[in-house]
Amino acid sequence: MTAPTGTRPARTGGTRPRVAPLRPTRRPHRAGRPKRSLLLTVLTGLVVVYSLVPLVWLLINATKTQAGLFSSFGLWFSDDFALWDNIRRTLTYDDGIFARWLSNTLFYVVAGAGGATLLAAVGGYGLAKFNFPGKRAVFAVVIGAVAVPGTALAVPTFLMFSQMGLTDTPWAVIIPSLISPFGLYLMWTFAAEAIPDELLEAARLDGAGEFRIFFRVCLPLLAPGLVTVLLFTSVATWNNYFLPLIMLKDPDWYPLTVGLNAWNAQALTVGGDVVFDLVITGSLLTIVPLIAAFLLLQRYWQSGLAAGGVKG
């Protein structure tokens, strides 16, 4: 993909200039791609099949009626194609509660992941470009906290938030989503690389204030890192289950994950309305936006994972 290939030639070329004259003669030999192997492709293909089968299963079964689910083979279509009808019923069931959950999820993602990205960018920049008293302590505390199991914090956070009267409100989901220690770390290494010190010095000489420098000069340079952090925090918020599960009682505030599980639980309760078809179609609708985001923004998560290698 684009990110790594863009950086590689620059790096080898830059660090070993004495090789440069040899290049023209070497290139055909070196650039010659390793021979493709059918055997290796097939073997790796097994892992791909493993990765995709459940998604294919979901897609196929979202096209079935409830009766079709029970009467047909799982990995093939049944006689009637009910996908559109299933989607319609998923969106309208119980006064359109699914649409409500979808908009809740979007709200939590925008507020939680957006806020987390901003805090990480500002903080990471501060760590990368300033030398201040207590910096080492900040580093130690943040890295130490990463080792603390997040779910272990959930129950105490719940108890604390209930003392503060925050449970069963959107704040209970949004506030904990605002912190991404790894987002901070990523922005820190990214800012250290992407923003030249000379640029800051020049801006300071021009008399610009520190925050003005950050928002006007540095933020645009941080854009690729921002998208990466935003992508990962969005996925984390979109997929969040444990936290909203314990924080929220009112179904009107549920995100999709908790809502879907409630539907599933309802189907398994004696006397409950059996809505497996809606659970399956709802699951499909839940993952489509994420998969689309990942496919469209490939360049960014690739580059984010290769953090040090990206220089824009």
Partner: protein
């Protein structure tokens, strides 16, 4: 399990010298002599304020809770280490710890090994359509644990699941993946499915920063593919492997989402003390025993940190 991002994976030694005091892999000597000032705090401050509220305060609060007990008669009273004694002597707690330890020892190596193989295969450039491979294997990471568990749960089912289909088609009886004997393995499969691609990308990113010149030299020396893997690629992956292992340890000890959702399908196979986290959850929300619950959370946090720390130490020793 919600693993953090693998940003730490890329110690490529090119960080600018300003990257600061704590950045691993940066020699402290490289720090330019710059005037220390408090300006940096204005940037780091907002993050730290929220961090204190959602990370530090709950830790402090749960430590406080763990030293008290709420009795019907007498109210809230200080009990010293009683809660710890109680948790450490609690067979339900230890059965959960045993289960996640078994999970850790079996599932994590299988997952990381598969991820490593795929990363090496994609990196080798010998695959047809390698971008497709990388994307397809990574896709499950975008699927919420809830949806992943519901999907696999349905597929495991004998009614309209794949297992039922296979039994019917072949006239055999496969072991029921949701029976008490098999359910832990079934959960292991779900977690493996979710995180192979994620770990594969950690490894792949680490492989991508290996300087091409190393391969060129190896080629000139006539090194075999296998030799290139064992002498160049695997040593370069050590840091990434360490990170992935530690994330996986944390993830295993925190196991909650998958068993909690499957529990609805098979209440008999997954008890309320199935994992320590599930136990802490049911202590809090079914039993109202907040003090015991906080104590379980702390003990698990300490165990996790100790294990992660020991693994890290061992890894570093092998480095030297």
């Amino acid at each position: 399990m919600a693993p953090p991002q693998p940003a730490t994976v890329v110690p490529d030694g090119q960080e600018s010298a300003t990257s600061g005091a704590g950045t691993p892999g940066t020699a402290r000597a490289k720090l330019p002599r710059r005037r220390r000032s408090w300006v940096g705090w204005r940037f780091v401050g907002p993050f730290l304020a929220v961090f204190a509220l959602v990370f530090l305060a709950p830790i402090v609060y749960s430590i406080y809770l763990s030293f008290f007990r709420n009795r019907l008669v007498g109210g809230n009273s200080f009990v010293g280490l009683d809660n710890y004694q109680q948790v450490l002597a609690d067979p339900q707690f230890w059965s959960g710890v045993g289960r996640v330890s078994l999970f850790l020892v079996v599932q994590v190596p299988v997952m990381l090994f598969l991820a490593l193989l795929v990363a090496l295969a994609v990196d080798s450039g010998r695959l047809y359509g390698r971008n497709f491979f990388r994307l397809a294997v990574f896709l499950p990471y975008a699927v919420p644990a809830v949806v992943a568990t519901l999907m696999w749960g349905f597929m495991y089912g004998t009614r309209f699941g794949l297992v039922g289909n296979i039994n019917e088609a072949l006239g055999i009886t496969l072991p029921d993946p949701l029976s008490p004997e098999w359910v832990l393995a079934s959960i292991g499969n779900i977690v493996t499915w979710e995180f192979i691609g994620y770990n594969m990308l950690i490894f792949y990113s680490a492989l991508q920063v290996i300087p091409r010149s190393l391969y060129e030299s190896a080629e000139i020396d006539g090194a075999s593919q296998l030799r290139v893997i064992t002498s160049i690629k695997l040593p370069a992956l050590r840091g990434a492997l360490m990170i992935a292992t530690i994330f996986s340890i944390i993830g295993s000890f925190q196991l909650f989402n998958e068993p909690s959702i499957l529990q609805k399908l098979v209440p008999n196979a997954i008890t309320t003390d199935f994992t320590p986290n599930l136990y802490a959850y049911s202590l809090s929300f079914s039993g109202q025993q907040y003090n015991s619950s906080a104590t379980v959370a702390i003990v698990m946090g300490v165990i996790t940190m100790i294990v992660a720390y020991v693994v890290q130490l061992r890894g570093m020793r092998k480095d030297g």
